[in-house]
Amino acid sequence: MTIKSEPFVVNVGPQHPSTHGVFRLRLTLDGEKIIDADMIMGYLHRSMEKLAEERTYTQNIPFTDRTDYLAAMTGNLAYVIAVEKLMNIEVPERAQFLRTIMAELQRIASHSMAIGIFANDCGAWQTPVMHMFRDREKILDLFEMACGARLTLNYMRIGGVSRDIPDEWMPQAHKLLKELPKRFAEYEDLLLSNEIIIARSRGVGVLTPEQAIAYSVSGPMLRGSGVAWDIRKADPYAAYDKLDFEIAVGTNGDCYDRFVIRLAELRQSLYMLEQALDMMPSGPVHQRLGTSTVQPGTQPIAPLAFRPPVGEAYGRIESPRGELGYYIVSDGGPSPFRFHIRSPSFINLTPLKLMAIGSTVADAIVILGSVDIVVGEVDR
C-alpha cells in the first residue's frame, strides 16, 4: 500500500514573530524539510525612490533614516556621500570624524540588535535581546544628545553634519567606551560557546565564497563566507583611512560565522571609536556650498535646496548589514532625477532559497536571523 502524501505549504509571515517585520517566506515542506522557498516582499514598500524624485536633495535625507531604521546614521552617511561625490564637495575634517564616530556607534547598536535577535531566533526567549538593549539604549542616548532624535536621526547634511556635538557629549562617550568592553566580554562568554547556539547554527545555511560573490551578498554575510572585503578598508570614506582596525572573517560560511563576525566587529568598532575620539580635530562641521547652486535667500551652510551639476554618482559605504549604496542621477534640477538605493538587506536575501532548501523550518528561521534583514530596507 502506498500512502498518499503531498507537500505542505507554510507561510512564515507576514505576521510572524521571526520575520523581523512584514516579510513573508512561503515554505514548501516535506515533513519538516524544506523543498522549496519563495520570498514575498513589498508589504512595507513605500516607493521611496519615486517620492525622492519630488523632493530636494536635503529633503531626501529623512528618507534615508527610514530605509534601515536600525542604522539610520549609516543610511544618512551613504546618501550624503553619494551627493557629495556628485557635487565634488570636500567635507571638513571634524565633520568627517563626527560621521565616523556616529557610524561606528550605530554599528555597535545595530550589531547588538542583530546578535540579540539571532539568539532569539535560535529560541533564547528574549534574554539576549534585552541584554543587548542595555548598550543600545546608551548609544541612543548619545545620539539624542547629538541630534535630538533616537531612531530616525537625520543628523548628516550634505557638506557635513547638522550640528556640532554638545560639550557634555565627549565625557559621556568616554564613559560608555569604558563600560562596553566589560559587556562585550560578557556576551562572548555567554554566547560564543553556548552549546545550543552552536548546535543550531554551525553547518546551517552554508554559503561558499564563490556562491557568496556570485550572489552579490555583502557585509557580515560575505565576510562570513571567508571573503575579506570591507568597504571601510577597501575604499575608505569619512575618516576610516586614519583609523586602524581589522576585518573579521569566518572560515566556514555558516550562520555561526556570521554571528561571530558581528561579535568581533563590536570590538573592532570600539577600537576605532577609541582612536577617533582621541584624534578628533576642532573646526567647522559644515562645508559652505557654492552660492551659485544654492536656492536664493537660504543659508549656504546646509541649505534646503541647491542644484548639483548634471551627472551621476554612486556612493557606497559599509553599513552594518553590508554594502549600502546610493545611486543618484542629477539632471541639474533641485531634485534627483533618479534616486536608487542599493540596499544590502534586499540583495543579501537573494541566496536565501539556496540556503534554505534541504534544511528544516527551524533552520530557515535561524538563517533568516543570520542574514539580519531590516524590512524597511528590503522593501524601501
Binding site: G123, T360, V361
Partner: protein, 415 residues
C-alpha cells in the same frame, strides 16, 4: 486552622472536619459523607493549584524580568501583584473564538482534556505525613499513566485548529512526548527498583528512614527526569511544540480567551506536577531531616516543589531552543542507552546489597558514590562516543585580518 498547621492528619479529607458534625446532624448516610469529604479535599488541592499558578505567573514574570534586565509587571496593584488577576479577567471576558475551519467539538475538548491530568496527578502526591487524597500503592504507575493523557490532548488541540503551524507543532509534540515519556519511565523505573515500592508515601518514608534523599543515590535518573519533564511541560529549551520564534504559538496558535487560559494554566499545573513528583520521589517529599517535627510537612513540601519549579523558570530565561532532530537524537541516542545501563546497574546494586546484607551506613554511601561516578563516566564517555565536542560542536572566534580581497574560507568543518 489548628489542624492544618499541626500536621495531625488522617488524610486530606480531614479538611472536611469542620462540617462533619453538620453533616452528621442532618443524618445523611455514610456514602454521602464519604463523597462529600473527598470532594472537599479535591477542592482544596484545586484551590491551592489555582492560587499557586496565579502567584507563579507573577513570580515567573518578575524573575525572568530580573534575568533580562527589565522590571516586569509593576503597574497593577502593589509591585504588579494583581497583574495575573487582571490577565485572568481579561482572558475570561474575551470572546471565545472558534475558527471557521476548526473541528468544533475537538477544538473545545482539547483545553479541557489537557487540564484534567494536570490536576488528577495531585491525587496521589503526599503533601504531608497523611495529607494525601488517594494513597495508591501503584502511585508511580498512576503518575505516568495520567501524565500520558497530555500527549493526545496536545495533538487534538493542534489538529483540530486546522492551522498549519498548530499541526506542525502537534506532530512535533507527539514525537517528543512519546520519546521522552520513555526516558521518564526509565528514570522512575530506576527509583522504583531501588525503593521496591510504587507507593509515593513509601518513597518518602524510605528517604526519611534512611535519612538521605534519593537524588544523592540516583543522580542520573533525577537529571533525566527533570529534562524529560521539561519536554512534557513544554519548557525552554524543549518548548518545540510552542516554539514562539518558529511556529507563532505552536499547538495553541488558534486558541484565544479562556481556552488559551486553560492551556496556559495547564502548563503551569503540569510543571507543578513534575516538580511535585521530583520532590516526592527524589528530594524527600515533606521530610527535611527531622525538621518536619517543627514545621508542617506541607510547607516543606511546597518549598521544595517551588524550588524545583524555579529550575524551569531559570532555564526558560537563559537557554535557546534545540531543533527537533537534535532533541530526538538526544532522547534516543543519548538518554535511552544511558538510562537502560543505569537501570541495569541499579538492579545489580539492589541484589548485591541484599545478598551481602551490608549495613546502611556502608551500603548507601557506596552505592551513591558508584552511581555518581558512573553517571559522570557514562555521560562524558557516551558523549565522546557520539562525537560530541569535535568539529561542528566547537565554538570559535572570528579570524581577524588587515588584508582585503583574500579568501579565508576552509569549509573543512562543514560536511
Amino acid at each position: 486552622m489548628a489542624i492544618i498547621l499541626s500536621g495531625e492528619w488522617y488524610d486530606l479529607r480531614d479538611l472536611a472536619n469542620p462540617i462533619r458534625e453538620l453533616i452528621d446532624a442532618l443524618g445523611a448516610p455514610d456514602a454521602v459523607d464519604y463523597v462529600l469529604w473527598s470532594l472537599i479535599a479535591a477542592l482544596a488541592i484545586l484551590i491551592w493549584l489555582v492560587v499557586s499558578v496565579i502567584a507563579f505567573i507573577w513570580i515567573e514574570r518578575r524573575l525572568v524580568a530580573l534575568m533580562q534586565n527589565r522590571k516586569g509587571p509593576n503597574r497593577v496593584g502593589p509591585a504588579g501583584l494583581l497583574q495575573p488577576i487582571a490577565d485572568a479577567i481579561k482572558l475570561l471576558l474575551k470572546e471565545a473564538i472558534t475558527t471557521r475551519d476548526a473541528d468544533r467539538i475537538l477544538f473545545w475538548l482539547a483545553p479541557i482534556i489537557v487540564f484534567i491530568p494536570t490536576i488528577v496527578v495531585f491525587a496521589v502526591v503526599p503533601f504531608g505525613e497523611s495529607m494525601v487524597l488517594a494513597d495508591l500503592n501503584v502511585g508511580v504507575l498512576f503518575l505516568i499513566a495520567v501524565a500520558g493523557i497530555m500527549t493526545p490532548a496536545v495533538f487534538i488541540a493542534g489538529w483540530s485548529s486546522n492551522n498549519k503551524y498548530a499541526l506542525l507543532a502537534a506532530m512535533r509534540a507527539i514525537a517528543m512526548l512519546i520519546s521522552y515519556e520513555l526516558i521518564q519511565v526509565l528514570a522512575l523505573l530506576a527509583a522504583v527498583l531501588f525503593i521496591g515500592s510504587m507507593n509515593l508515601q513509601a518513597f518518602v518514608s524510605w528517604q526519611d528512614e534512611y535519612n538521605t534523599w534519593l537524588i544523592f543515590i540516583l543522580p542520573l535518573p533525577v537529571v533525566a527526569y527533570v529534562i524529560a519533564g521539561a519536554v512534557e511541560i513544554n519548557r525552554s529549551p524543549m518548548d518545540l511544540s510552542e516554539a514562539e520564534s518558529e511556529l507563532a504559538a505552536g499547538y495553541h496558535t488558534e486558541y484565544g480567551g479562556i481556552k488559551f487560559g486553560f492551556f496556559y494554566q495547564a502548563e503551569y499545573m503540569a510543571g507543578f506536577a513534575i516538580a511535585a513528583t521530583v520532590t516526592t520521589l527524589f528530594l524527600g517529599g515533606w521530610t527535611l531531616w527531622g525538621l518536619e517535627e517543627w514545621i508542617p510537612g506541607w510547607i516543606i513540601f511546597l518549598g521544595k516543589l517551588y524550588a524545583v519549579f524555579f529550575l524551569y523558570i531559570w532555564s526558560r530565561g537563559t537557554l535557546p531552543r534545540l531543533r527537533i532532530d537534535q532533541l530526538m537524537a538526544f532522547a534516543w541516542k543519548f538518554m535511552l542507552p544511558l538510562m537502560l545501563v543505569n537501570a541495569l546497574v541499579i538492579a545489580v546494586e539492589v541484589v548485591v546489597w541484599e545478598e551481602t546484607g551490608a549495613s546502611r551506613n556502608v551500603a548507601l554511601p557506596a552505592i551513591g558514590a558508584v552511581n555518581a561516578t558512573l553517571a559522570v563516566i557514562l555521560v562524558i564517555g557516551w558523549a565522546r562516543v557520539l562525537g560530541h565536542g569535535s568539529g561542528l560542536q566547537r565554538g570559535y572566534r572570528a579570524t581577524l585580518t588587515r588584508e582585503i580581497g583574500k579568501i579565508y574560507y576552509t569549509g573543512a568543518e562543514v560536511s
